[in-house]
Each structure stands twice: as C-alpha cells, then as structure tokens.
C-alpha cells in the first residue's frame, strides 16, 4: 500500500482516538467538530492518495 495513504490512515486513527478526550467547557463553544472533521479529511486523503498511487503504478 502507498506509504502516504498509510500515513493518512494513521493520522485518521489518531484523530479519532482523541475525539472523546476533547473537553466541553461550560459557556464555551463545543470544538469536538474539529476532531470529526480531521478524521473525515484524513480518510478522504488516504483514499485519494491510494488511488493516486494506484493510477501512477498503472502507467509505470
């Protein structure tokens, strides 16, 4: 598997693991959406990186 895709998968897993630890403080906006957004974005980047590597390998 493409190394960059693996890197993004690890980042997605790390981001997901930390979501439950984001505290919600009284009177302050909930920022857990940051964690969820990062998980989704890293998964998307992992898929795109894997597809990119796959398409390159077809031409070489």
């Amino acid at each position: 598997m493409d190394r960059r895709a693996v890197f993004f998968v690890i980042a997605a897993v790390l981001s997901a693991a930390l979501v439950p630890l984001i505290p919600h403080e009284k009177g302050k906006p909930d920022i857990s959406w940051v964690g969820y957004t990062m998980v989704v974005a890293f998964v998307v980047l992992a898929v795109l990186s894997a597809l990119d590597a796959w398409s390159r390998s077809r031409f070489h």
Binding site: L14, S15, I22, V34, G35, F42
Partner: protein, 336 residues
C-alpha cells in the same frame, strides 16, 4: 524581601521567559521566508517582530485566561510561579542550546503543573485545561499538516498550467510576506498570552489583582498585555538562528509556494486556537504544516530523522520542565 519586591522580580523573570520564548519559538515565524530567500534574516526578524507586537489588537485574550487557570488560583503563590517559570526557562535554554525545536508553551504548562504538584498534589491542576492542551499537542501539528497539504495540492492544481515557473515563484514570494505576517500574528497572540496568564496568576496569588479577571480576560491590565507583546517581539528580533535552520531547511526544502501554504495553514490553526483559548505550540503547528507541504510533494521529501527528533522533544517537554519545576519549588521551600 517584601512581597512586592518578590512580585516585581517574578514578573521580570516572566518577561525574560517571554523574551526567551520569542528567541526560541518566534524564529519559526521567519523560517520559511528565510529558507525561500524572500527576505534576508535581519529583515525577516523585524517583519515578524512587528506583527508579533500588534497581534494583541486582533485576537481575544482567551489563552491568557486558560494559562492563568491551569493551577487553581487558591494555591498560587509567588514561589510556585517562580518555580514553574524556572522549569520552563531551563528547558527552553537546554533545547535551544541543543538546536532542538521544543515548545515554550508546553514547557510553561509543564513547569506550572510541576510546581503545583510539588506544592499541593495533583488535585490543584485544572484537568479540563490540561486535557484540552494535551489533545491539541497532537491535533495542532495534524491540523497544520492537513491544511498545508490540502492548500498545497489545491494551489498546485490551480497553477500547474502556468508554464513560467518564475512568474509563479515571484507571485508567491510576494504572498509569503502576508502569510509570514499572519503566522507572526497568530504566534504573538498565542505565545505572549501564555506569559500574560502567568503574570495574572501571580498577581492574583499575591492579592494584587482581582480574581474576577479570570471571568473577563479582556479586563487584564494593559501594562501586562503591552509588556508581554514587547518582550516576545524583542525576543524575535534577537532570533534563534539554529532553530530557523532546522525548521526551514532540514525538515524539507521549501519553494515560495510551499512556504505560503505552510505559513497560512499554521496561521489559521493558531487563529482558531487563540479564539478558543487553547494554548498550542507554534513550533508544533509550523512543523506539521511544513511536513504537510513536504509530503504533498512526496513523502520521501520529508527528512523524517529530523522530524523524529522534533517529536521526541515534544514528548519530553512537559515531563522535563515539570521535573525541574518540582526541584525548584523544593529549593524555594528550603530557603523560605
């Protein structure tokens, strides 16, 4: 020595810490513009220092509030703040001497936690602030990486049809002045506020400032705000050149376009953190962003050996500075 003299001495030490923070961390603001030769080093430090200083006009003082609350204000004393600061200063000087990027922010948090633990045990630490900071130790470089990678891919796609590479470079060299300014604003706001928080906690502990300031951080006395921003700006002007070299060229080699993407991504991350009262490390953030740009080129463009040393410094910062603060606090108690 009277308490007021001690307060003045510890405030002076806090400002020295802020200066060292500027010296040690603020160099990150200029690493990419120096690496891409947009500005000469002396021009870059003046540019960054100016935007470090004016940042208080643009972002709220939420980070100062978070830092002031990291150890319960009921037990804060002059000795505790002194010990916390000494832990952080020692750690910063050590990592600067070794040429290692560290985090002044986490050194300060580690120092305060260590001093708090030494004084009254673990219950005095505000867990929510600590938890938020701990999560963003990991998140801030990842957000920087994600934004920088995405921005770099998007911009590369937009400019790939332009054949004249020189035109692209020229445009991005100009834009890099703006991105470096934005990053310096984010850096000044997040880092200078950490010292403001410490000074506020000290003054509350010494009975010289009302606790109510913690509920309304914008009411912090203006002399604290201005002196902290001036100290960090001066620190930037004296720069930490060894660290500039590590961040700007050793992690990955940057072109102006990559520099703009990395700095803009890091600036957005710092603006977000400052708005939400999250004390993050500017070093962590810009490192993540530079790695993001490097990995958008190809993963092997990132010099992982240097990145690993950076990660080790991150892991060791809080425990290292906390340990020094514990020892300092015990020494303070012996002489008290």
């Amino acid at each position: 020595m009277t308490p007021i003299v001690l307060v003045v001495i510890v405030v002076a030490i806090a400002l020295v810490f802020d200066f060292v923070n500027g010296f040690h961390d603020a160099a990150n603001s200029i690493a990419t513009i120096v690496a891409t030769r947009v500005l000469k080093p002396w021009q870059a430090v003046i540019w960054a220092a100016f935007f470090n200083f004016v940042s208080f006009l643009l972002l709220p003082l939420e980070v100062a509030n978070a830092i002031a609350k990291i150890v319960s204000s009921d037990i804060i004393s002059i000795g505790l703040v002194f010990a916390g600061l000494m832990g952080a200063i020692f750690w910063n000087v050590l990592t600067a001497w070794l040429g290692l990027p560290s985090s002044s922010s986490h050194a300060l948090i580690g120092g305060m936690i260590g001093a708090g633990l030494a004084k009254d045990g673990g219950h005095v630490v505000t867990l929510k602030t600590l938890q938020k900071t701990a999560v963003f130790i990991i998140y801030s470089p990842l957000i920087g990486l994600l934004l920088a990678f995405s921005a770099f891919v998007l911009v590369s796609w937009l400019v790939h049809k332009i054949k004249a590479k020189r035109t692209v470079n020229k445009t991005f060299r100009g834009l890099q002045l703006l991105s470096a300014a934005a990053f310096s604003i984010g850096h000044g706001a997040n880092d200078a506020q950490k010292t403001m928080g410490i000074i506020a906690a000290l003054l509350i502990g010494a009975g010289r400032l009302d606790k109510g300031v913690l509920d309304n951080p914008e009411s912090l006395p203006m002399w604290i705000v201005l002196s902290c921003h001036a100290a960090i700006a001066l620190g930037t002007m004296f720069g930490g050149w060894r660290i500039v070299r590590t961040m700007g060229t050793k992690l990955t080699r940057l072109e102006p376009m990559g520099g703009v993407c990395a700095e803009s991504a890091a600036a957005v991350t710092l603006f977000f953190a400052s708005h939400n009262g999250i004390p993050v490390s500017t070093t962590h953030t810009i490192t993540g962003a530079i790695v993001g740009v490097g990995s958008a080129n190809r993963l092997s463009a990132v010099r992982w050996k240097v990145a690993r040393r950076v990660v080790w410094a991150w892991v060791l910062t809080i425990p290292g500075s906390a340990a020094v603060a514990v020892l300092t606090y015990w020494l303070v108690e012996v002489f008290n």
